[in-house]
């Protein structure tokens, strides 16, 4: 009996009473599904932090505390840069689907550059905040939420660099774009997390 393997069986092979076959289902989509499940878990982490944030905010007299000025410059810069990174990551994904590995490398190199810019802006937001983690509850959440996003950015930027490098070496033909798609999803998700953070910390920062 044959022990040859093949990729996902066709419907005909799956019919009742069909032949006994050795099958090796494709794992390419698995990369995307696994990434999306991790992203779901990630959003739950942020949801729990925001639940604590709004509960503490609701029980505070002044939010943010007196003397704390909530600027809009850095959040605006971070938001625009993160979105530009998302465009670049999506460009890389489109290129991968067309088997254009040169543009995969360019797209992720650009996205990594925007990621570094986001990290730089967030770092300066933390170092120039004028208050600390222990100053007041707003300070705790400010550092926690910025830090949470910064950790994501610092984890994804090397990943994008790695994918760009591997694309140069021709590792992502159109038939194997799982790694490219997963990296793009990771960046889009981190941008989505940022939207929620900026909404909580800046747009809904004051008592009605």
């Amino acid at each position: 009996m044959s022990t040859a393997t093949r990729s996902r069986a066709t419907p005909a092979e799956a019919e009742p009473g069909g032949p006994v076959v050795a099958v090796l289902p494709s794992g390419d989509r698995a990369m995307s599904v696994g990434t999306m499940l991790l992203v779901a878990a990630d959003f739950v982490v942020l949801g729990a932090i925001l639940a604590a944030y709004f509960s503490v905010k609701g029980s505070s007299q002044a939010w943010p505390p007196e003397g704390v000025e909530v600027g809009t410059y850095i959040p605006t810069v971070v938001t625009i840069t993160a979105v530009l990174g998302s465009f670049a990551a999506q460009w890389a994904l489109y290129a991968a689907r067309r088997n254009d590995q040169r543009n995969v490398a360019i797209g992720f190199s650009l996205a990594a550059f925007f990621g570094l810019a986001v990290a730089n802006a967030e770092w300066s937001a933390l170092t120039e905040a004028g208050f600390g983690v222990a100053s007041h509850p707003y300070g705790t959440f400010y550092f926690l939420l910025f830090g949470y996003h910064l950790v994501h950015v610092l984890a994804i930027v090397p990943l994008m660099g790695l994918v760009a490098g591997r694309a140069v070496a021709g590792h992502f033909p159109a038939s194997r774009v799982g790694g490219v798609r997963a990296t793009a999803i990771a960046w889009h998700a981190s941008t989505g997390l940022w939207y929620l953070i900026v909404t909580a910390l800046f747009l809904l920062s004051r008592h009605a």
């Binding site: 069986a9 092979e13 799956a14 050795a22 794992g27 698995a30 990369m31 509960s55």
Partner: protein
């Protein structure tokens, strides 16, 4: 594929780690020295020793069985992310070591009960608290990563034609329980990170001079751990529903109802979290109704199991019914624990705003539901799948002794606490706690004996290779894992039959073809 990226190896490592966690967790609950004969009893489920039982025994047991058996049941040749799987185990082992070390390093954390209040100030800093908090974070992150891996494998790498409706009951329960875990454990991770920032960097999330909300810690904690604890019950019920039909020599009665019940339990697992949180006031009544509703699917699965056991064997079955085999004995004994846990859970839910949550009733109920059910199910599952995973049967006599000690221990430990608690619930005549607590303490020793016997039996079989050698299908199993050699090759299968039902090995012509191929 290296041995350490083989999902079966990782699964076995998780199971070995869990066996050691069981012994340590119960040892920490043993009433010894000045505590012997005192009113110690089991404290909150999420006291330090309870945390070890939940996170270093029950959790890795099911991570291990799901890792090793899940991919085999769906005809996958590997997990979706093999390297992440071994990395996840490493992370888990490091976290588990820290969690176990915490109460040994510091007496402070022994008195913690994270379900009641988040520790603060000096109480939350120092090597003991640090080890416990960081260890739990690592364990939870590793569990999420492992379950994402298993869930992706079950959803994406299953063999063609294995639609969700054709998935074996244990694989389906793993899909449900891993989904619940992936959505619940991140809440616990976030809570612990905030607690760590509070204790180390002067953060003011759960307290502090300038504000913070001390009520929020226990709320978030229970929102995370209640569904997580239920997810372990879901996997346990799935394993029971897999084992019973094999030895009853017939298909499971109403498999769709059981699968639906497990799915419903996955949703209802999130409904009863707040019944434990006293600060929620009248909202607890609604949440207690959620906790009560979650018991219904459990009862439904149990009734299906009883109907399967009570029915006639299938005429097509070539083997006689065998309800005295160790795996099914463990399930039958386990059903007594499930029955007691359901009863206690119903009383606790109906008295959500009463005194049942305080004192002895709440912790006893939690231990029976979230520790008792998964423990006996894990004994059943280990005896059932050991021949497949490492090609050796566990010792039957030692197994029966450990089972008797564990089931007896669960009843003897927690029944007296339920009786004591029930007198508080009903406001009846006060009962002198001394004698009942003495009986409960004896039960703890019985649990300890069962744990040691189980761990020794598992480790000598898996590591030292003791026990009878197993064939391809020693039990007459119904599902794909029994279609390959014992233990399976690194790639799991040479041949996989076309799947037409959730019990492919009962479907001709696959049987003859596979037997010929595997012989």
């Amino acid at each position: 594929m290296t041995a350490l990226s083989d999902h079966k190896t990782i699964g076995k490592l998780f199971m070995a780690l869990a066996a050691m966690g069981l012994v340590v967790g119960i040892a920490l609950n043993l009433p010894v020295g000045p505590q012997a004969g005192s009113a110690r009893g089991f404290q909150g489920l999420f006291s330090a020793s309870g945390i070890i039982l939940m996170f270093v025994f029950v959790l890795p047991t099911w991570l291990g069985i799901a890792s090793a058996v899940g991919p085999l049941q769906v005809g996958a040749r590997r997990v979706a992310f093999p390297r992440a799987h071994s990395f996840g185990f490493g992370l888990f082992a490091a976290g588990a070591a820290m969690v176990v070390a915490a109460p040994l390093v510091s007496d402070d954390v022994r008195t913690w009960n994270l379900g009641v209040a988040m520790p603060s100030g000096a109480e939350a800093s120092g090597p003991g608290p640090d080890l416990l908090i960081l260890g739990l974070i690592l364990v939870a992150v590793a569990a999420v990563a492992t379950m994402v891996n298993i869930l992706t494998t079950l959803l994406q790498l299953r063999t063609p034609a294995m639609a969700l409706r054709r998935m074996p009951m244990f694989a389906w329960s793993t899909v449900v329980s891993s989904s619940v875990m992936v959505l619940a454990l991140p809440v616990l991770i976030a809570t612990l990170v905030m607690l760590f920032i509070d204790s180390h960097y002067g953060g003011q999330t759960f307290g502090g001079d300038e504000g913070g909300n001390p009520l929020m810690g226990p709320r978030l904690f229970w929102f995370g751990v209640t569904p997580f604890a239920w997810s372990l019950v879901i996997a346990s019920l799935g394993a029971m529903a897999e084992i019973v039909p094999v030895f009853a020599r017939r298909a499971l009665v109403s498999p769709a109802r059981s699968a639906g019940a497990l799915g419903a339990l996955g949703v209802l697992a999130f409904a009863g979290w707040g019944a434990e949180v006293t600060s929620l006031g009248s909202a607890r009544v609604l949440l207690a109704l959620g906790a009560l509703a979650a018991l219904a699917p459990v009862a439904s699965v149990v009734l299906n199991l009883l109907a399967t056991i009570g029915g006639e064997a299938s005429k097509e079955s070539s083997q006689p019914r065998d309800l005295k085999a160790m795996p099914v004995l463990a399930v039958l004994g386990g059903l007594t624990v499930v029955g007691l846990a359901l009863l206690a859970g119903a009383v606790a839910a109906l008295n959500a705003t009463g005194p049942s949550r305080a004192g002895y009733f709440g912790p006893a109920t939690h231990h029976l539901l979230y520790f008792g059910i998964p423990t006996v199910a894990s004994v059943a599952a280990t005896h059932y799948w050991a021949p497949k995973l490492w090609g050796r049967h566990l010792n039957d006599s030692v197994g029966k002794l450990s089972l008797a000690a564990l089931i007896g221990g669960l009843h003897v430990t927690f029944l007296p606490l339920l009786v004591l608690g029930f007198s508080e619930v009903t406001g009846g005549a006060a009962i002198e706690p001394g004698p009942l607590l003495g009986i409960s303490n004896l039960g703890t020793y019985l649990l300890g004996l069962g744990a040691v016997l189980f761990a020794v039996n598992l480790l000598t079989s898996a590591v030292a290779g003791w026990g009878r050698q197993a064939g391809v299908d020693p039990w007459g199993g119904h599902t794909l894992e029994w279609a390959t050699t014992s233990p399976p090759p690194p790639h799991n299968f040479d041949l996989i039959p076309a799947i037409v039902s959730a019990t492919p090995l009962l479907d001709p012509p696959a049987v003859a073809e596979l037997e010929a191929a595997n012989s």
